[in-house]
Amino acid sequence: MIPMHEVPGNALPGPAAIETTGLTKRYGKVTALSGCTVSVPEGRICALIGPNGAGKTTLLRLLAGLSRPTAGQVTVNGTTPRQDPAFLADIGFLAQEIPLYRRLSAEDHIRVGAHLNPRWDAESVRERLTGLKIPLDRAVGKLSGGQRAQVALALILAKQPRLLLLDEPVAALDPLARRNFLGLLADAVAADGLTVVLSSHLVADLERVCDHLIMLASSRVQLCGDLEELLAEHRILIGPRKDTTAIERSHRVVQINRTPRQTTLLVRLNGPVADPAFEASDVSLEELVLGYMGQDAPSEPAQLTTVGEEQ
């Protein structure tokens, strides 16, 4: 299932850090995630994008083993998520709510982590928080939201996981702190072969550091694959207002926008664009994301599972 050609910007992708097949989670009658089939190779920074309620948190919690799938398979670091110290040691999950013991200080949390984890880089946390001028001895409940997020992020890195799952970790950070943190993540990935899945609404941030994309909408996977390849496979076509059935026949149209004067299409290419009346231009991540968020068509998992094979 691994594409054998060169992926731009990467050497050969390694084995998958995450592999899911038909992953489904229902809470009573509500389907939070449906038929999710994705794959993330090791060493990637994967953006997890989707509108609110698309199932991002559900997917991350399933990967972390905090909840169990209703149907389907999930494989993380080569095994099914389970209650086992060795599995847990390799996973870092930071929930959106930034769970920390409010009455305990950062230093207390460092000691807790040291007691509960086989690998623990306490010095890195102290160094990092001191550098950010965050007091180590103050109860974290008394820190600002951004400082708390920094403490939680430093702690999760100290655990030295192989897979890091971050649910909107940068939402509480100011732009500079955000940039610094994402830089830190990129360094950790380059140095330790860490894999990261990062959910966020801040597409510009994600575009800067991510090289992989999972896009969810309406509890389904819309896109999954290497970010550059996905961008390369999509075009925005702008042309006169006329019949587009020819284009729809040969390419997959993600979104159509018709104004009285012109038609704008976001298409997933299936070969070159033949119609000279349409001008093709490259897409940005933001345009891609907005295009897929706008459409509510069911996904085609078979096509989307592995990028590259279909070319």
Binding site: L66, Q83, P85, N117
Partner: protein, 326 residues
């Protein structure tokens, strides 16, 4: 894990230890006074050969007596303030998601936490009970009411079992409801309900009660601190007689059942006429009771019941936390 439990709950533990220490100081000081009072009373009555009638002697003070009886509620406190928040407070604050993403399984997290909470509850219940049992020693010897719920339930081993049950109930309620206040409310209501139901419905029947029939003209008192469950008078046909308040009795038998001659006996010091003695001999008094020597058996059975309930609640907690989604 243990360090985390200590760091998270040290305020609760320290407050509990401080309360225990204050209670112990008070009980030891007043307990010595009670013991001295008792010895003085024993010496005095021995001199006048009147030691049988010491039942009315009151030892201690009303304030301490009130504190002693209020230890009935002590087991509930651990349930409300230690048990109920254990899981619920973490679920509310989301910190379970911190703890469960360290390299520690949920099972180990739960085992260690529950273990320390149960140990704390046992120490709490045991220490209070030991102090109360010691303080009440002289009174137990005098009053002979060891089976009274106000005394049986605060002495011996049962307070330990109540404390373990209360903390387990709190933990289970917190694990199921995942909110602190509802968990506290359910713990309080559940604890009172279970305790009351067992006192009223189960405890009298732990062992088959003994019923003794005796002549109404003679008396019968079982030895020691027995537990009287029922008493009354049975008529010639074997039916139990109603005993309303507003009529005259002769030896426990309503006067209306007896010849008129008997009424005079009750008023004067005359030897009862043979017709009256004859009539009374058809009646039997009875006493249904649990003998005094069953005290520790009853304590043991009650302890067993509450330990079993605690075990069931711990199992419910484990299922709620380990089987369900986090």
């Amino acid at each position: 894990m243990t360090w985390l439990v200590w760091r998270q709950h040290r305020i609760q533990f320290l407050v509990g230890a401080a309360l225990l220490a204050a209670f112990a100081v008070l009980i030891v000081i007043t307990g010595v006074q009670v013991a001295n009072q008792y010895h003085a009373a024993q010496m005095a009555c021995a001199a006048s050969h009147a030691c049988r009638n010491q039942g009315g002697l009151f030892l201690g003070s009303h304030a301490v007596g009130f504190l002693i009886i209020s230890t009935l509620g002590a087991p509930a406190l651990v349930g409300l303030f230690v048990g109920a928040p254990m899981v619920a407070a973490e679920a509310e604050a989301g910190t379970t998601q911190f703890a469960w993403m360290q390299s520690v399984t949920r099972k180990r997290w739960l085992t260690v936490k529950i273990g320390w909470m149960l140990l704390a509850a046992a120490i709490w219940g045991g220490a209070i009970s030991a102090l109360v049992t010691w303080w009440e020693g002289p009174n137990n010897a005098l009053q002979l009411d060891a089976f009274d719920p106000g005394r049986f339930d605060i002495m011996g081993v049962v307070p330990v079992a109540y404390s373990l049950f209360a903390v387990a109930l709190g933990i289970a309620a917190g694990a199921l409801l995942r909110r602190v206040l509802p968990a506290i409310a359910v713990t309080l209501a559940g604890f009172i309900a279970v305790r009351a139901l067992i006192i009223l419905l189960l405890r009298p029947h732990y062992m088959n009660a003994v019923t003794v029939f005796y002549k109404v003209t003679s008396g019968f008192t079982p030895p020691g601190s027995y537990w009287s469950l029922a008493s009354g008078v049975v008529g010639p046909n074997g039916q139990q007689l109603a005993q309303p308040n507003n009529i005259n009795y002769i030896d426990g038998v309503p006067a209306s059942y007896l010849p008129a001659a008997c009424t005079q006996v009750s008023r004067g010091a005359f030897t009862p006429p043979p017709s009256c003695t004859q009539a009374l001999s058809h009646f039997r008094a009875f006493l249904t009771y649990q003998p005094a020597d069953r005290y520790w058996t009853f304590q043991g059975i009650e302890t067993g019941i509450f330990l079993a309930l605690a075990a069931i609640l711990i199992a419910v907690t484990a299922v709620a936390l380990l089987r369900r989604d986090a």
